[in-house]
Structure formats: C-alpha cells, structure tokens
Symmetry: D2
C-alpha cells in the first residue's frame, strides 16, 4: 500500500482550514485568557477522548510554558487529569457529570471555562458549560464541525470550520500553541521562532 496521495490530500485539507480560521475570534479568546491571568482566576479546561490529552497539553503550555517566564502563573486546571476522580464520578454518579461535578462548589466568579468538544455536542462537556453559564462565568467553546450546541451557548469561540474530527483536533492544538507563542512574545519577550 502506498499512501502518498492521501497524505497530500490531508495536508491540503489542513491548509484549507487554516486559511479560514477566524482571527478576530481567536483574538477575543486571548483577551479573555489575559484577563483571567491578570485577575489570578482559574481557567478550567476539559474534553473527551483525544481532547482530554489536548486539555492536559493546554494546562502544561500555560502553567509551565508561558509561566516559566512570569512572576505569577497561569492557573489552568485540566479536569481530565485526576483519573481517580473521573472514574469515581462516572461510576457513582454518571459519565455525563464528570466535569460539571468538579466545577460545582469550586468555580469562582471570574473563573474562565474552556470546553473542548469537536462536535460541540458531548453531553458531559455541555453540562459543565451550561453550569458555568448559569453561574455567570465566561465560556470558551473549542469546537469543530458546525460547533453544535456548545458554540451556541458559549461567549467566545475557537472553532475549526471542518467536518473532520482529526483536523478539528489538529487545529485545537494549533490554537494552543499559537496563543502560547504569542503570549510568550507579548508577556515575556520570548520569540518562539528561532533563526
């Protein structure tokens, strides 16, 4: 089996999506993140499947990556990382509550919620996002496809305009590193692109 043609097609699809990203929307999310940093607020991030690794990656890039060079740290908290808690809530209460449970009795005014769902329709992600909205917190939807219900209820959007879960997840990592590298430059005068 030779895969070259399909490889070229995937790369072309990826570039097409990249060329159609909403720059103003990304800008708006970055202002929310900077606001949370300035306030010392917590930024909750979570998702299903591969997006749980993405959420974990976000926490590292903000709490360690950028924050290595700042006095105060970003306060990202990935709700996927404590497996015991995820497994306990899913088993005792229900999988659709794994994120909402963790926000209840913990979310404070000013905390920011980054909800990742490729389809925008994952029940457990929606439950947590809806809870945050009810509490008056700002919700950032990190989605693909048509954005689903999550895009409708969210305040800001990191959207991958494509009907592919794989390219959607690629773009979600690109959002992370794009924002991280710009914050490294604007907050810490560190340029990610070495000559």
């Amino acid at each position: 089996m030779e895969y070259q043609e399909m490889i070229r097609k995937y790369i072309a699809d990826e570039m097409d999506v990249l060329s159609r990203l909403d720059v103003e929307a990304i800008n708006a999310v970055m202002r929310e993140l900077k606001g949370a940093f300035d306030r010392g607020s917590t930024v909750y991030v979570f998702g299903n499947g591969g997006s749980s690794a993405t959420a974990s990656h976000y926490q590292n890039d903000f709490n360690k990556g950028i924050s290595e060079h700042t006095e105060q740290k970003f306060r990202f908290c990935c709700l996927n990382d404590n497996i015991a808690t995820v497994m306990a809530v899913a088993n005792d209460i229900g999988f659709e509550e794994v994120f909402r449970f963790q926000l209840r009795g913990r979310l404070k005014p000013g905390d920011l919620v980054l909800a990742i769902s490729g389809s925008g329709n994952s029940k457990n992600v929606l439950n947590a996002a809806e809870y945050a909205k009810e509490q008056g917190n700002t919700v950032v939807a990190i989605t693909g496809y048509d954005g689903g219900r999550l895009d409708e209820l969210a305040d800001c959007h990191l959207h991958a305009p494509v009907m592919s879960m794989q390219i959607t997840e690629d773009i979600h990592m690109i959002f992370d590193h794009l924002m991280m590298s710009i914050f490294c430059k604007t907050m810490c005068q560190i340029d990610h692109l070495k000559k």
Copy 2:
C-alpha cells in the same frame, strides 16, 4: 493589546511548514506502523513536556480510534502514562532513564519505537532510542528543528522542518491524525471527512 497580526503570522508559518513536509518519509513510517499491526507487535511511544500528552494522544488514536473498527487492535504503549513509574525511575535511578528503563527486559524483536523530541536531543529520549537500536529494533524519530542526534540514529522520520517548538508540536499532532485518518480509510473504509 491586539494580537491579530501575530495570529496571522503564526498561521502563515504553520502553512509554510505544512507545505514542506516530506511525504515519502511519512509514507515510510506508515508502512512500518502497518507492519507492526500485522505482526501484532507493540509500538512504544514517549516524549517530554507537551510531547508526553502527544504520546498519550497517539496511543488513544491508534488503540481506540482506528482499532474500534478492526478485529485485532494496534498495540501502542505510551511510556508516559503510568506517572508512578516515571516518578519512581526518575527519583530512584535518574530522569534520563525513565524511558530506557521501561524498554529493558520488555522490548521484543519486531517492536517499533516512536521517539518524540522536538529538538531531537532530549537525553532520556535518546537513551531509549539508542537502546532500541542496539536491540535491533526499528526507531521512528519524531522531531523538529534540525532533527538533532535522534534523527541521525533513527530509521524513519516524522520531521517538522521549523525552528519553533510550538509549530513542531502542532505538526506532530498532525502526523498522528493524518496517519490515523488514512488508516481508518484504508483499513476500515471509514472516511474522516464528512460531507
């Protein structure tokens, strides 16, 4: 602060790197992965920092993503996932041994090693890759920058030709999803791109 210009610049840099990926090299790695699947061999994957989340993401996309639709499963094993082991080896033996230790007395002939290091020079990644080479196993280097020592010793390469750790890590996720989506199509007749 407005970030639009820097956002556009990052996207343009990303597209530039995408347009320069080595399609033949990706094709060669896919053939190695398909061979490991056909033999029932284990595919070890590991990395530092954000690349540990990337390694974890690879395991999911192959063991669950593709394998949901196959009789036998891919046998990816991410050496970052058991935190207790990583912390035990690092504390008792040394951080530079966390991956080599786990391969010793476990790697079998035919097993494949995917070593992720953006710089290509992480000591603990190199130690494990060198060990695998000594045992006669095939090593795939997943790198950026100039590929470093890891690219020199590896048999196959997933290389991001760019001097940026952030874009390098983006491309590493794209490699994963690109390969996953093509295997879904060729092995399971599932098209990732919905109309």
Copy 3:
C-alpha cells in the same frame, strides 16, 4: 472538633480485618502472578474511582519496583492510565465498556486479569472480567464487602472481608505491597524491612 476516638476506632477496625485475611487465597494469587512473569504474559489491572489509582500503583510496584532487580520485567498494564482512551470509549461507546474494549483484540492466552471492585459489582469491571473468562483467561478478583458477582466468576481472590469501601481500598494496597515485598525477597533477595 476532636477526632481521637474515631481514629482509634478506624485503626482497630483495620487491624481486625487484617487478622482475618485469607492467607491461602493470597498465596494462590502470588503463584498466578509468578506464573505470568515466567511465561512473559501480560497482567491487566483496572478499577474505578480510587481503585484506578490503586491499579496504577500496582503497575509501578511490579514493573518498576520488583522488576528493577530482575532480568526480564513484569508486564503489568493498567487500563486506567491512558485517560484519552478511557474518555474516548466512555464517550463514544459507553462507560461500562472502558475495560472490556481495551481487552478485546488484545488479550492473549495466558494473560492474567486483575479486576478491582470494592463492591464486586461495578458493571465495567464485571464486563471485562466476564470477557476474560469467556476467552479462557484466569481472573483475579480484588474485592471487599461480600465480593459480589466478581468474586463468583473469578478464579482467585484478594478479598477484604469488611463492609467499608475505605478499609477495602486500604487492604487492596496492602495486598500489593505485601506481594511486592515478598517477590523482592524471593526473586531478588531484597528485604523490604531495613533494620
């Protein structure tokens, strides 16, 4: 609030359970584990809630703890550790399939399954244990309370005879360290108790 009396009560309850453990049953499990080691077979271990941390701890104590001193390594594989996979299966297929899914198309003849469930009745743990039995593999039930359905279907038993989830989980960790320290002594001539 002063807690001394309740503390003394908990310790007394713990000692009571310890005095009633089934030594022959532990011995039988240790023989199974030694057999799996000698055959180079994989030992799958998994559980819900706090038992997912317990399962993770088992993998470390066998794959690193004992195996630091042996030529070949124990091949424990904790099915809780790749969070992305757990979240993907739970979201796409169902939480009750998170362990069975991972065994399907991967379990080999001779592989051993350590299924942890305090109540012995967790649906996802039972599904995986039943699957292993159907495939002809040996199942070790790690339980508390009355052992539930899991104790009925299993071949060997690490049972905490107590109607308390907390003491049950304590005893499960004691089983791990007890077996580890004895294997360190018998397989590697290392005495865990320093003078």
Copy 4:
C-alpha cells in the same frame, strides 16, 4: 514456592505499625485539613513513585469522596497529575524542581501543603516543602522510616514508624481513608462501615 509464612509475617508487621500510630498527630492534621476546607484554601499534595498514585488517590477521596456530600468542595490539587508539566519541568529545569516550580507564583496564604516522602529525604519533595515554609504556609509531612529532613521542617506529621517503604506506603493510604471516613461522618453524617 509457598509464601504463607511470609504473608503472615507481613500482616503481623503491618498490625504492629498500626498499633503504634500517633493518634494526636493525626488529629492535628485533620484539624488543619478542616481549616483549609473552611477557608476555601487549596491543599497541594505530591510525592514520588508509588506516592504519586497515593497523592492522586488523596485528591479523589477529598474532592470527590467527601465533597460529594458537601456544599463547597475540598480543593486538593495533586502536583503529579499533569504529566506534561512534570515532564516539562524535569526536562527543561530539573527533576528536583517539579513540585517547587508548580508552587511558585501559585501558592496563596493559607494554602496547605501535604508532602509525601517515605524516606523524608526526596530532594524534589523537600524543595517544595521548604519553599512553602519560606512563604509561611503550613506543611504536613507524610513520611516513614525516621521521617528524615521532611519531618524536621514540617508543622504536622502523618508518620509511619517503620523501616519499610512498602508498609510506609500502606499506612499513607490508611491515613487518607481514615481521615476521609471520619470527615464523611462528622461533616456529612455518612458512616463508612455498613452493617
């Protein structure tokens, strides 16, 4: 090989250590934990090797276990859970900084630190504990053996008086479940021991 005699010996050793635990010291730690809960302060917990699974288990038992039945939640934060961060700090800065790094620019007045080290002498655990003391925060040492340097610098102590890492780690889990079950009873009127 028959193991019965060694099994009985381990259980007897365990019971001996249990009978010698310092009830007043446990009581003092519980008062600190209740204070942190009442103030809404964060409780940081971390350790190496198996103790990283223990730390993860603590977070679950307080944030989910007890907190399932309370209006506000315990705010435990296990510094081992975000593997990417641990791997990034260890690789870029040094393994001895993995916990101190995460406390810097994040620890607030009133936050509590639970530092787990069986020997009491793990460098990375000590660094974080010393940092917390410098900031004026209360440190709980969770140790075994002779308590090492960690016991000297800490304010409160959960100590396993035994020269065995295995029994030390058992006792550390018992401390967790003992405290959890008593808090469930005193804070939520839930009795862990079913009839």
